[in-house]
């Protein structure tokens, strides 16, 4: 192998290696109260911390579900019976989905009632 072809092979391999090492996945991250939640391309990550749920989709869709987070108090005078982490009032379940970057479909769900909005229609579903 001539010196020139060897150099060309080395250069091609270097370019290939650089190209591979430089390629990177897109990671979508969300931080809520110091808790980090990330999703790669095509992936879904859901994190529930003390009843509060946050989901991230790598596609760029927004998939979020909110529970009822708890609040902490160091004041011993505020002691209540039962679990402190348990919500003291009814839990409201709320979910928001948006599909497609252009927002082709939007679904808002709260306590079993769904509001479904599409680009060409609007429907309200009750379960």
């Amino acid at each position: 192998m001539s010196r020139c072809s060897r150099t060309a092979t080395f250069a091609a391999l270097s370019i290939l290696w650089c190209g591979v090492s430089a390629s990177a996945e897109t990671l979508r991250c969300q931080s809520v109260n110091g808790n980090l939640n990330c999703a790669g391309s095509g992936g879904v990550s859901c994190q529930t911390v003390d009843g509060k749920k946050v989901c991230v989709s790598g596609h760029g869709d927004v998939v979020q579900s909110f529970g009822n987070g708890k609040s902490f108090s160091d004041d011993a005078d505020n002691d209540e019976d039962g679990l402190d982490g348990a919500p003291s009032h009814p839990v409201i379940h709320q979910r928001l989905e948006q599909h497609g970057p252009g927002g082709h479909t939007l679904l808002l769900e709260r306590d079993g009632t769904k509001l479904h909005i599409q680009t060409d229609s609007l429907s309200i579903d009750r379960n």
Binding site: E25, L27, C29, G34, N35, L36, N37, C38, A39, G40, S41, G42, G43, V44, S45, C46, Q47, T48, V49, D50, G51, G58, F72, S73, D74, D75, A76, D77, D79, E80, D81, G82, L83, D84, G85, A86
Partner: protein
């Protein structure tokens, strides 16, 4: 020169002492809190629980599930620590393509008679293409 050295030495000794004085529990109602301490005689002064989990799915199409639980005993009836501290930390990684990583950490402990401190932190990352990462952290205290 000797006087200056003495002053510096005195300052070095005084600063940690002052810091120690400033630390600890802030008394809101000293009388009732002293009563609480007195009533809690024979019980533990403090209870600390630290639960940490690390879970990762590295291979393509792999799955890794982790479930951790810490449950603080109630001890003798009506006896709880003066100060309770609970820490929950979790790291959940779906690294491989189409991998699935699931982590669940549940901690249940007693509330302190004087003070309760809970700290919860989680990192949940699905790096691989098409990967799924689910993390659930629960940090609860009960009476």
């Amino acid at each position: 020169m000797q006087r200056a050295s003495l002053v510096i030495l005195a300052l070095l000794a005084a600063l940690p002492a002052a810091a120690q004085e400033r630390g600890g529990l802030a008394l809101r109602n000293p009388v009732s809190e002293v009563d609480t301490i007195d009533a809690n005689r024979g019980c533990p002064l403090s209870a600390t629980s630290v639960t940490v989990g690390v879970n990762k799915a590295t291979g393509t199409g792999s799955s890794a599930q982790q479930q951790l639980g810490t449950f603080g005993g109630s001890g003798s009836s009506g006896c709880r620590p003066l100060v309770s501290t609970q820490v929950v930390a979790g790291v959940n990684l779906g690294l491989g393509n189409r991998s699935s990583a699931g982590q669940s950490i549940a901690v249940q402990g007693q509330r302190g008679a004087l003070a309760t401190t809970t700290f919860t932190r989680g990192v949940n990352i699905g790096v691989g293409a098409g990967s799924t990462a689910n993390q659930r952290l629960l940090n609860q205290t009960s009476r």
